[in-house]
């Protein structure tokens, strides 16, 4: 079974262009390198209606995993857990395991900060999860990640702070996704092509992909000086994956030379 992932990035700061969505790119690159398929990346603002609405729409497409980032913290605009509960017609309840994680983190801080830190409502919020959810240990911050299984999909909610998101992903999410993907090999290569414009290379790509149906070739024009061609193939055999890419590169190279272009590998 193909492992299909959709990413939902949550946060007004992304929609006003204040920050760039490095989290989504990081996750997408990681998953693709393992042979998983990221089908969509959606960005919505800090609104229970928006987040729950997009979660419902996403669940209808039955992805294997839905990964959300952002909105797990203590402030008023951290609304992801509430929105998951709304999307699933579920309730929020204090989760003892999550509470222990939040407490442990504040005990840690206390050693450095010296003043007394209480479990205020803002802090309890991070341990109040949708019913049926399990917290994921956050090695770098306070808000635990959250995982919840819904029919054939699994929702994984991660914080928006990149170092916390990455730490939870690598510790708890990666093993689950790797298991779901199984042993797949992904092989990719780039060629730099000069002396031929994109509209001339288009039919050559068509012909090569027709003759090599297991490879995907994408062209990227670079400031009109040259083109980059990106070749990828995924299969259960390392050798087969590499052969598919090499054969298609050989095929298209010949066609490019015939059309007066030149090739550099990089």
């Amino acid at each position: 079974m193909t492992c299909i992932i959709e990413i939902i990035s949550i946060g007004n700061e992304l929609l006003i262009g204040q920050i760039i969505n490095t989290n989504a790119q990081w996750i997408a690159k990681y998953i693709s390198s393992l042979g998983g398929i990221v089908r969509r990346i959606n960005t919505v603002r800090d609104s229970v209606d928006e987040i729950s609405s997009i979660l419902r729409d996403t669940l209808k497409r039955n992805p294997t995993f839905i990964i959300t980032t952002g909105g797990l913290g203590p402030t008023f605009d951290d609304k992801t857990l509430k929105a998951i509960a709304v999307a699933l017609n579920s309730l929020l309840e204090l989760n003892e395991e999550a509470l222990a994680m939040v407490k442990a983190r504040y005990c840690n801080y206390k050693k450095n900060i010296t003043k007394i830190i209480e479990l205020t409502p803002a802090r309890l919020k991070m341990a109040t999860l949708p019913r049926g959810a399990t917290p994921l240990h956050n090695p770098k911050g306070t808000a635990p990640g959250v995982i919840i299984h819904i029919d054939s999909s699994t929702i994984i909610a991660l914080p928006g702070v990149p170092e916390e998101m990455k730490a939870i992903f690598e510790e708890s999410v990666l093993p689950m996704i790797s298991d779901s993907i199984g042993n797949l090999f992904v092989h990719g290569r780039y060629l730099k092509v000069t002396g031929i414009v994109e509209s001339e290379i288009a039919p050559l790509i068509d012909a090569t992909m027709h003759d090599n149906p297991d490879v995907y070739i994408k062209s990227h024009p670079k400031l009109r000086s040259h083109l980059e061609l990106h070749f990828t193939a995924t299969s259960k055999s390392k050798k087969e994956t590499e052969n598919t890419v090499e054969k298609s590169i050989k095929n298209i190279s010949q066609l490019i030379y015939e059309h007066g272009g030149t090739i550099e590998e990089f």
Copy 2:
């Protein structure tokens, strides 16, 4: 009327994390600085089904503008125009105005490249638009942008190459969006806050936003060493917008000092 914009970014290269979505951030920042609201940023792969499906879903939400980037070029995986036609139950047809733009661009190239360039199917594709669409001059490349009005929404399709996307946006899209937004002023300020953690500042933000309903305050924890607070307000009066932000900064500053935090502006 509020000007609501949704962005649809198209391209497998975004979903495999090969490149980061700088186009969406650039557009979102530009529109937000004018007082427009970017409600969603969605990224889908080069698939007619995926693009037409998300276009249909987006149209149901009636945004003022839907801006797509990517998929207007000559290669097999440039599928945006076909997908727009499918989403609107419309036909694709050769557009004479777009054809003139594509021809003019190749005449330009010809001066430099010396060999004869013909209007191949791959090139004609860039001038084959959904019925009722109008091409937008591309000052930096071959594929014209495309605009089409559907009920109360306007779809604007831009190329994915950043320099082409930006050139068409500034020449043709910006005037339309500015007109739709009207004269709005946006004022934003940042504060750097130390000595107080995010969960302690959360209730202070709540109180300040309660007393200053026209301001939006967002906190961003920065590697646990400090917090950034971002204040924004939008209104028809420059003076009023600035006053709203200044008053809320004064309010929260007092609360932060009372809680032992310190503030730096930047």
